[in-house]
């Protein structure tokens, strides 16, 4: 079953993120009123996995919070918000006032490390920022000149307008090529970070970039976005269904209880990540509507509905579309092999799991440490794998869907991978007494997954008899 496209951002579809909005409002108030307080937060970083709503949050801050809420909170201040997205706008999104979105061509050239193009692109961006702030001098001057002028002109503007607060929102930062970020910081961010009454908000996924400016490193608050709760998923799908074109009126009439049951199943399958929620809930409903007999109850049909493996496969494909096309096929296998390792992995586990997926032994040149390191680096380049707290972790939104798909579609492989992990950790617990506690715990986890599955299968077999 083909998936419908998720809706593009609209303020009336936005749910949750009260805490994040409060963080921005608080920082804004402190910046506006706090003078030169060294403890001020002047950079906020929102991090999160694929499909967690980072871009929606960034747009919501720009289009709603900073235009409507914040001016009410700081009536004596003029708040100017600038939105810069380093990923191209999704199809259907109308570019609004004071928004700069990178084009597909520019994004492609940055991803391809076309460094000759960086200066031209940053020249356009810095000139755009100057224009938005009403301090344009020579828009076609080289970026180095523009940057030198911009820093001093913005400083003078802030001095001459003591009630001006500028908020620069940058979306999809860490996913962008790092050599481009080096220049973005040099020509724009470093200067802005050192000025008073400027708040910088960034969103990003994957490895966080190491900024050089101490102001971007010390006066900052970092928050990880979390998946939605059941109530939030209910609210999300209620709003989404209410605005979806071509959906049966029966959908709008679904009771709170039915939506809650649906939300629970969506979370079980996808983990509560907004993009996944949208895709799964929509697929559930459309699947149920397709199979609904005339006069039948949609609520009952929804409760009976089990998701098709093809839907999960499509969701996984959608989540993995950030992986460059030429890499996708070759990385699919390792993503599948590692998706059972909920607690993360080091290079040590990789050959065993990969061999288990292939139903072979981890022997030969394809399984050497050098080969695993090369594979690891390619995984990291996707920004769907990162080092976190002593181990690599797969982006949890992606991992959850991949494991669910594997379990549904290739149960034998899924069991083999868990069995491999259980045996491996049990062996290491014996072999490495210094880390026995940790490895034992992992072995128990994988055994318990297999045990639960066996019990579940027995139960189903019993029912069918």
């Amino acid at each position: 079953m083909a998936l419908t496209n998720p809706p593009v951002y609209r303020p009336d579809l936005f749910v949750n993120r009260k805490q994040e909005i409060e963080t921005v409002n608080r920082a804004l108030q402190n910046i506006a009123r706090g003078g030169g307080d060294a403890e001020q937060v002047r950079t906020i970083v929102f991090r999160g996995e694929r499909g967690l709503g980072k871009s929606w949050l960034a747009l919501h801050l720009h289009r709603s919070v900073l235009r409507e809420e914040a001016p009410r909170m700081l009536p004596d201040y003029r708040i100017v918000s600038l939105f810069v997205s380093l990923s191209p706008p999704p199809e259907g999104l109308t570019v609004d006032e004071r928004e700069w979105h990178i084009t597909h061509d520019d994004a492609h050239r940055i991803a391809g490390e076309d460094e000759t193009h960086y200066e031209a692109l940053l020249q356009k961006l810095v000139a755009w920022v100057a224009e938005q702030l009403g301090i344009t001098r020579a828009p076609y001057a080289p970026v180095r000149d523009l940057s030198a002028w911009l820093a001093q002109d913005v400083k003078q503007k802030l001095e001459s307008e003591p009630h001006l607060v500028i908020c620069l929102i940058l979306d999809s930062v860490f996913e962008t090529n790092w050599s481009f970020l080096d220049q973005l910081e040099r020509y724009l961010l470093a200067a802005f970070a050192a000025l008073p009454r400027i708040l910088i908000v960034m969103t990003g996924r994957g490895r966080p970039y190491l900024w050089k400016s101490p102001y971007l490193r010390t006066e900052r608050e970092e928050q990880s976005l979390t998946p939605f709760s059941v109530e939030q998923v209910v609210e999300q799908i209620r709003r989404s269904f209410g605005n979806a074109p071509n959906l049966s009126p029966a959908v709008a009439g679904l009771s709170d209880e039915a939506l809650t049951r649906l939300a629970r199943r969506v979370i079980d399958l996808g983990g509560g990540y907004p993009l996944t929620n949208e895709l799964l809930a929509s697929a559930f409903v459309r699947q149920a509507l397709d199979r609904l007999p005339e006069g039948g109850s949609l609520e009952q049909a929804l409760d009976r509905e089990t998701i098709d493996a093809s839907v999960l496969e499509n969701v996984a494909n959608r989540l993995l579309e950030v992986v460059p096309g030429d890499q996708r096929h070759s990385l699919d296998e390792i993503f599948n092999a590692l998706c059972v390792l909920k607690d993360g992995f080091r290079e040590n586990e990789m050959p065993y799991l990969l061999a288990a997926l292939r139903n072979t032994q981890p022997e030969g040149s394809a399984y050497t440490i050098a080969a695993m390191r090369e594979l690891r680096d390619r995984l990291i380049e996707t920004n769907l794998v990162r080092w976190q707290d002593k181990r690599y972790v797969l982006d949890e939104a992606v991992r959850t869907v991949l494991e669910q798909y594997l379990k549904l579609q290739r149960r034998d492989v899924w069991r083999r991978l868990h069995a491999c992990a259980a045996d491996l950790y049990a062996t290491w617990a014996q072999k490495y007494p210094g880390s026995r506690g940790y490895f034992d715990q992992r072995a128990v986890y994988h055994r318990s997954i297999l045990g639960e599955d066996a019990a579940h299968s027995d139960e189903q077999r019993g029912r069918s008899l």
């Binding site: 060294a38 180095r144 000149d145 940057s147 030198a148 002028w149 820093a151 001093q152 400083k155 790092w178 910081e185 040099r186 020509y187 470093a190 200067a191 050192a194 000025l195 490895r207 966080p208 970039y209 190491l210 050089k212 400016s213 101490p214 490193r217 010390t218 080091r346 290079e347 040590n348 050497t368 440490i369 050098a370 390191r373 690891r376 680096d377 990291i380 990162r386 080092w387 002593k390 181990r391 690599y392 290491w428 072999k431 490495y432 210094g434 880390s435 940790y438 490895f439």
Partner: protein, 402 residues
């Protein structure tokens, strides 16, 4: 890869860094630079950010650390950070190395300090502006002429000599070793802009500014924090413990900076702030003097503990691997976890020692990279044993001649 094994001693091996570090996923050797000014990546892995902020802000400050405790690294990192962007409002770093003062055996007088500061300041300004000419070129003709006059008054050689060199090479990189070593900045301008910069400063009608050193320094401070757009000036004073005559007697060494502190309050009014980097042995003498003469200055300590050392080692591996991994755990056997903590737990809490030992462990591992394998417990144990062996040798009394 070139590996020469000599009695299995990692210290004696010669390796080609471009090869083996790349093979473990690093773009450079993160533990090789024990001397901060030669480390091009220093600002990428600064830890101790609280002290970093203190070193940057607009308050006179004494920054205290033990020898090998990262004073120079901090000073160099501050310098490069201030010049990272093109023309913003960061402070102007003026590195004043007392180790470069004339070898008279006596502390410089107040006037000598001013002359030396002016020389150091103009050396730094010319080098910095050569890397960021846009900062000068955006100003008025009057500012450019005033800057040229100050440079002519303070530089150790004729301004035209440096400008000719710049024109000929087309890059400011040649000025760094000549004028100010810590100003090894990145992102130089294109040659045509370097040429424009030289032409702007080379106005033949501009003579060296005349007057007392104090007046010239005041003009320097006003230009730097005025038209050139820096927020304030940091007098980064270091090297007091580098001189032979100062090493034995902390009280004597302290007298080298007393005259500077006598001017601290006047400098504050010109947006110029002393940041004095001293070894811990000198702290009582310096703070005693300040207390006695009620001179306001904050004292900050660079304190290394095991947590901070672990963080330093990890920040370096993180920067070298472009954040692919933040710990050597990533390339270790399953038996090995918390590698950095295992290393520092057995060492004195000094960054230089932690860097040396970690590098030894990596060198030992690198020697068997061709056979595959991972960093293991033996590598760590050998590196620590290597350090203990050398430390013991250093503390042993010389052999008796009897």
């Amino acid at each position: 890869m070139t590996i020469v094994n000599e009695n299995d001693d990692p210290d004696k091996r010669t390796l080609s860094p471009s090869d083996w570090f790349r093979r473990i996923g690093l773009r450079f050797d993160p533990y090789v630079h024990l001397e901060a000014s030669s480390d091009p990546y220093l600002s990428e892995y600064t830890v101790n950010l609280e002290i970093f902020r203190v070193a940057l802000d607009n308050k006179p400050t004494i920054i205290v650390a033990p020898p090998g405790g990262g004073k120079t690294a901090m000073r160099v990192a501050v310098t490069r950070t201030c010049w990272f962007d093109i023309g913003g409002t960061y402070p102007f770093p003026l590195p004043y190395n007392l180790g470069m003062a004339p070898l008279t055996g006596k502390p410089p007088t107040a006037t000598q300090h001013l002359h030396l500061l002016l020389e150091a300041g103009t050396c730094a300004l010319l080098t910095g502006l050569a890397f960021r000419p846009e900062r000068l070129l955006r100003t008025s003709d009057a500012t450019i002429r005033a800057t040229a006059a100050i440079l002519r008054a303070g530089l150790p050689g004729p301004l035209d000599y440096y400008l000719t060199m710049l024109r000929e090479t087309g890059t400011p990189a040649g000025l760094t070793p000549l004028l100010e070593r810590t100003y090894a900045l990145t992102a130089p301008p294109p040659p045509d802009v370097v040429n424009l910069f030289c032409n702007a400063l080379a106005d033949p009608g501009t003579d060296a500014m005349r007057g007392q050193a104090e007046d010239v320094f005041q003009a320097f401070a006003e230009t730097v924090t005025g038209a050139l757009g820096f927020s304030h000036i940091l007098l980064l004073i270091d090297g007091i413990d580098a001189m032979y005559e100062n090493q034995a007697d902390a009280r004597f060494a302290s007298t080298w900076v007393f005259d500077l502190f006598d001017r601290a309050e006047a400098w504050v009014r010109s947006n110029t702030f002393i940041k004095l980097f001293i070894p811990d042995l000198m702290e009582p003498a310096v703070t005693g003097y300040l207390h006695h003469y009620t001179i306001a200055a904050r004292v900050a300590h660079i304190v290394w503990n095991h947590d901070l050392l672990v963080s330093m080692l990890r920040k370096r591996i993180s920067a070298a691997s472009e954040e692919r991994f933040e710990s050597l755990d990533a390339i270790s056997t399953p038996a090995l976890t918390d590698v950095e903590r295992q290393i520092v737990a057995n060492l004195p809490p000094l960054p230089r020692v932690a860097l040396q030992v970690t590098r030894q462990a990596l060198l030992r591992y690198a020697a068997r990279l061709e056979n595959g394998g991972q960093l293991d417990e033996d590598d760590i144990h050998h590196a620590i044993a290597w350090y203990r062996h050398h430390a013991a040798q250093r503390t042993q009394p010389p052999a008796s001649r009897v």
